[in-house]
Subunit: 416 residues, 2 copies
């Protein structure tokens, strides 16, 4: 049993922050036992670590990121999406055929996510299985929780970054077999998106999903072009989402859909029926001029909306900054499309970034009893002589903080 003292904050739901000022969180075998205003008699002999006025919050979950695009963060943002993909992204991803290229990039990415307090992530690698395994191994070695995908693309893709359908399915099956054991890092099927995947590939992945009981991550209705192109390519489907439903890819594990800017009623139906996880990537969706997700509308329909940094469309790790960016976008959504979305607040986006996101990875994201103590200490937020409430400190961290404010990190209950 170990006790940690500080100002403990976590999400109850999208309306409410649970705030335990000047309190103790008891952790046993890496799991939260409870939160107490004073040290209870039963724990009088326990070790205590005192973080003073430090905020103790759950570590963040990043539901959409391309680790393979880590080198691209914050560059090429003036290009249109198509030029950005063809000038930067696709050539860059093709280098991951080379393990010597992949190794330092994945190492840097994983260290950076830890630095920013992201301990759970849903990650796109590239089409290359060996490099994807390398990323997988690095995440495992660090003790992080992740869903990692070898990307599939066999259609409308540049020749240097395109598989045959057969090769794509075969490599994917080997990848799934290689990771059949039960670790904190798990494989996830990762068709890039409908416009770069043949029907045969997507349906083949559906069979693998069922056989290996493994989920899927992809991009849906991320732009008007993508939404229309998917329906053009799959005219028998009523929505982008239905493609994955019909292929048998849903319901086998987590179904994580990035962007979801232009969902139609059928997308909503599918996402609800299969408990899919829509991911807002605020910086990215802004950088690639995609439009703005109607976060509150999707939440009102009962969907678990989460956040993603989406490097390299987004420019940085640090899901806390996406909490602020999501609020900013919701304000513009309401300004321009009041009938389609309302302003959301910090309680909501912090919920998306921790409890909602954490649900995809297991018992992480809150400090309810029995949850894993994946936690951050946030400090050096206040101005001298001007104490702030815990909620204010959390808000300032999300708007203006950086990794220097993350002064301690606990992963599976262990101090890093």
């Amino acid at each position: 049993m170990h006790l940690y003292h500080g100002d403990i904050v976590y999400s109850e739901n999208r309306e409410t922050l649970k705030i335990f000022e000047d309190s103790y969180i008891a952790v046993e075998n890496g799991l939260v036992e409870g939160i107490y205003p004073q040290i209870p008699d039963k724990f009088s002999g326990a070790e205590v670590t005192d973080y003073g006025r430090g905020l103790i919050i759950p570590a963040f979950s990043d539901l959409h990121v391309h680790a393979s695009q880590f080198l691209q963060r914050g560059i090429g943002m003036d290009l249109l999406l198509n030029d950005w993909l063809n000038t930067y992204t696709f050539p860059q991803e093709s280098h991951f055929a080379d393990m010597d290229y992949a190794e330092p990039v994945y190492e840097a990415y994983v260290n950076d996510m830890i630095r920013h307090g992201t301990f759970h992530a849903c990650i796109f690698a590239t089409i290359h299985r060996p490099a994807t395994n390398l990323l997988f191994k690095k995440l495992e070695e660090k003790g992080l929780r992740a869903l990692v995908g070898k990307v599939n693309m066999d259609f409308q893709s540049p020749p240097y970054l395109c598989e045959t359908t057969e090769e794509s399915l075969r490599e994917t099956e080997i990848f799934l077999e290689e990771h059949s054991g039960g670790t904190l890092v798990k494989p996830i099927l990762t068709p890039r998106f409908a416009p770069t995947c043949s029907r045969e590939l997507i349906w083949g992945l559906g069979k693998l999903g069922k056989k290996y009981k493994v989920g899927v991550q992809t991009h849906i209705v991320e732009s008007r072009w993508e939404a229309a192109e998917s329906l053009r390519l799959f005219p028998d489907c009523r929505s982008d989402s239905e493609i994955y439903e019909k292929a048998g890819l849903l319901g086998n594990g987590p179904s994580v859909f990035a962007h979801v800017i232009f969902p139609n009623e059928d997308d909503i139906r599918v996402m609800k029926e299969y408990d899919c996880t829509p991911v807002q990537c605020p910086d990215s969706t802004n950088n690639i001029i995609a439009g703005i997700m109607a976060v509150d509308r999707l939440q009102e329909k009962g969907l678990r909306v989460t956040l993603g940094c989406d490097i390299g469309g987004g420019q940085q790790n640090g899901i806390y900054r996406q909490c602020a960016a999501s609020i900013k976008l919701s304000k513009l959504k309401e300004f321009y499309e009041p009938e389609l979305g309302k302003t959301i607040d910090i309680a909501n986006t912090f919920y998306m970034a921790t409890k909602a996101g954490g649900e995809v990875f297991g018992n992480v994201g809150t400090f309810d009893p029995g949850f894993v103590f994946d936690a951050l200490v946030i400090d050096n937020i206040e101005d001298e002589g001007h104490p702030m409430t815990p909620a204010q400190r959390l808000e300032r961290f999300c708007y203006a903080g950086d990794d220097r404010n993350v002064t301690a990190r606990y992963l599976n209950g262990t101090l890093l």
Copy 2:
């Protein structure tokens, strides 16, 4: 004569970055003499400081910031503007009657602006002359360039932060007299905005402007409410800008207008006629749900559009981040109002942040010969083994950099 070696980047105009890779900038008596690919024979004995692959760029200019709101950065962002003003801003500003309160806040603000490479700023203090003088003195002592305003408000303001018209004019005149000498820091008239200033006050300030040859800063058409309210209060004026024109406040020095989200044709006429400086404050305008300035449209009309961090509506110093935020907003402007604004790029927003902003303060903001060497060295941007072009490094700094990337600062040619 001193030479500095690195990758030298500055703005020629809103389309073009001037890039001198692996070059030398010669500085004499604090002024730029020239830029050379090698050390010229004539300078063979000069001292050389080598920044290797460091970017050497002009220091930033912040054209709109409330130093008195420094403690508010990144908090209260979920409140509506009116609640934010009444809950946080006005009570907080009222404390600047107390010099003991003001001193550490202004000290922290000035240090933070330097840390982030902002060496020239147009600053709102509060209604309190003594504390405004304190800020003035701190800026002078550091050697920064600034226009500092004692705020005027005598109408529709909370009783604890409201002057009589007479008091406001008298204190302002004393303030102007106190600073009649020619330093790098100058006073500027600062009616908060039309809704909190009586006609008598604004017209009185116009007389002072003419008498002391001093410019004006205020907020215009910052929201639909403010635009309408100004015209309601001044029904003889065709635009928010015309209020200041008719009062005689324009043409006496720099006229700096923050926000300018909803200008009408007459605002444009006034701003052109008096060479006014519109300031976009991207984070702030987003946080307070004001709408998006049509930057490119104002530029096309020949206006010198600049950038401001607008703490505390904005959450942080660091005009480089506003370069990225401005691009993001321009993308949304084009997405939602393609007829009103187009996407702008990093060359443009860096121009706004340096050369355009610098023009208001004198010969700063570029490295053309004769300009003051107010400069920053930007480094630690690249990933190991993956060299980037100077333009890419500049872009990544603006999107994802922070003060740690500012590895050296030169103010008036002197290393800080």
